[in-house]
Symmetry: C2
Amino acid sequence: MEHQTKAQQSPPHVVIVGGGFAGLYAAKSLGKAPVKVTLIDKRNFHLFQPLLYQVATGSLSPADIASPLRAILGKNKNTQVLLDRVLDIDPEQQKLLLRDRKELGYDILIVATGVSHHYFGKDHWQTDAPGLKTVEDALEMRRRIFLAFEAAEKETDSAKREALMTFVIVGGGPTGVELAGAIAEIAHKSLKNDFRNIDPTTARILLLEGMEHILPPYPPELSAKAQASLEKLGVTVQTNTLVTDIANNIVTFRQGKHTDKIKAGTILWAAGVKASSLSKVIAERTEAQLDRSGRVIVEPDLSIKGYSNIFVIGDLANFPHQGEKPLPGIAPVAIQEGEYIAKLIKQRLQGKTVAPFRYSDSGNLAVIGQNRAVVNLGSLKLSGFLAWLIWVFAHIYYLIEFDNKLVVMVQWAWNYITMGRGARLITGQDSTNIPSEVETEQKEYQLIEN
Amino acid sequence: MEHQTKAQQSPPHVVIVGGGFAGLYAAKSLGKAPVKVTLIDKRNFHLFQPLLYQVATGSLSPADIASPLRAILGKNKNTQVLLDRVLDIDPEQQKLLLRDRKELGYDILIVATGVSHHYFGKDHWQTDAPGLKTVEDALEMRRRIFLAFEAAEKETDSAKREALMTFVIVGGGPTGVELAGAIAEIAHKSLKNDFRNIDPTTARILLLEGMEHILPPYPPELSAKAQASLEKLGVTVQTNTLVTDIANNIVTFRQGKHTDKIKAGTILWAAGVKASSLSKVIAERTEAQLDRSGRVIVEPDLSIKGYSNIFVIGDLANFPHQGEKPLPGIAPVAIQEGEYIAKLIKQRLQGKTVAPFRYSDSGNLAVIGQNRAVVNLGSLKLSGFLAWLIWVFAHIYYLIEFDNKLVVMVQWAWNYITMGRGARLITGQDSTNIPSEVETEQKEYQLIEN
């Protein structure tokens, strides 16, 4: 099998697929290496995913947490960014099939295309219960949350009004906890004085989690503190609860032997993820194995079996952590994997080898509200205001590496003082806010074709 | 004909349709008056329209220039905000037919629903040449502008690449001038170092104006200065030029007897406006006359003929200005009209009358680039950096009245220093940036029905 780097004059061509944390940090770290780098993404920006829930809940704008990839990598003269999609991989010929650009050869391939929502085989739940992965997802969630209050304000039937003011969040991981906390703050603080026919503080916010505790990877005492904080904010937390059906704005769930239903104007999905479709291509074209979620099981150096020049990193990779469970799909893991691959490539060019990848765990953070968070630093477990401060600084530290994120700090400070949510715009096309007759037509844009 | 305010115990009900500058300032000024105010809008936010072109060109985010109407008016306890659409008006019964709420009675009605694009009977041009009135319009323009550079970067055919890097702006009024200047700065400054296969500074930016000068209401010497500034930025300005067709990314235009065509990846419409559809309803139900653009010709006190309790203000009104041309559709006119009506209502409640409306012209401003503007204060005509400073302060002054616009100042300062455009995200649904398979499906959201 021919999969070594081809003999060549020109610098080796490293192709990175995906501009999330893993791919971007690999590209950044290769900026001065004697290689040619091509970063391919279907979007023109990197998204700071950990703060996406703040876009969904009207605290931040998409541009606050997104940076154009070209702006981040523009200074790296060895790097080009391509807006394109990878359709197929040919590991023998060492090339990719792209949608627009047709073919692209590589010497080293790094795949970091991440994950998307997973509805456990019930994809039809998606219409009723959207998930949170993209900017569009976030704006859709925002639209539903704030439109629910608007619809309730207009509704004269009290049962319908109650349903409209019911919010169900499925999944008690960090995203679910963050969403539930933020919606509680919207209802109890931001919108408190804004309506005349409804009282937003009577909104019902329900967080459903299948496991015994919310935030399953955290130690039980922190999970309990997080739950107490959420309840103080007005969230009803129900653990050991499995959702069995979602249809027509009704969530059906089972808690032990007890089955129940709830009608909710807004249902948000924060429960499952599955690997992006490129993992299947990798499995078909190489000997790589996939796990149950479709993630690619990688070798100790993050390469895939039989191909020392193909690497899978970030959420798409299943890296067995010191014989234990695979590493979680969080930004610090992705960043460290990206930086590791860059180092490995640089060392390999000098004929050196590097030790297997090892994740250095600097702790876990989850935010509950404008003032509360839980932080697990291993030996140190914190909750409350101090944990929240750590959360703020950790996020600003990483955000600040990007473009113009000073703005986020000012926005946060302002929101914090005013409890305001200036970004609670209901946008997009919907029956309740059609901008004008003309805009209901499907807009199609033909790029120039001959 | 019965159209006087009904005899009543409860405070008179003032219904305002439209939350733009005219309607919002009327509502704000009635905040402490002994009336009940209902503001109806189809959107949940007021849009600071003068800065919309900055959203379209990636400098600002929608939330930076939009404020939730409920947040602005929440403190006015006599005021309620309704997210709804007005379908019909019954001036005899003094009530409105709404889409969601069915009926709403009024004692005094203020209509301020503004204008939308007008393609002079060629509505099919809209697909190729979108206009700029809503947040969605701005994001669509942004998507097209930045996607054009991305497509050019991938294009191998030089003629197609050249077409992709051609931008035509139709209409040399303030919006057209602002768009052309901003696109020139995008090409020559913001994106200068971002591409590997194209040189963004070679982009062709064409501004077409039908009249003899751009910025027609300005004195010729300021128009000439604006044109010189645009040309210095890299914009080709063509006056006396009428667009005769737009189809398949080709603009056909006539300059005198000379006809020409140009193929352009991006065509933007900044030429014409027409009155919102409510003006037709008003004309049918009352004796009001419409002008050629469909605007309602109003009486000296901004009421409509025969109905002293129905007012039309803002861009929707045609107010003959001291026997001259009608007042232009700009924010200062709308604000003054809104405030005038509020005063009139308050005086009338005390049995007093007020003098006819009189517009106090405090000057015109148009911005050309990050450093240049033209200002016409009547006796004082300015251009260049000083004019730009006046423009900045005038806009911040009005923005600051709203919610959290400190953020805009920081964003502007940052953009100014870095020449960056952090908000140049390509979002929405399009073949080149489909977020995921799932998201290409039409998302439909059913509000709870029964």
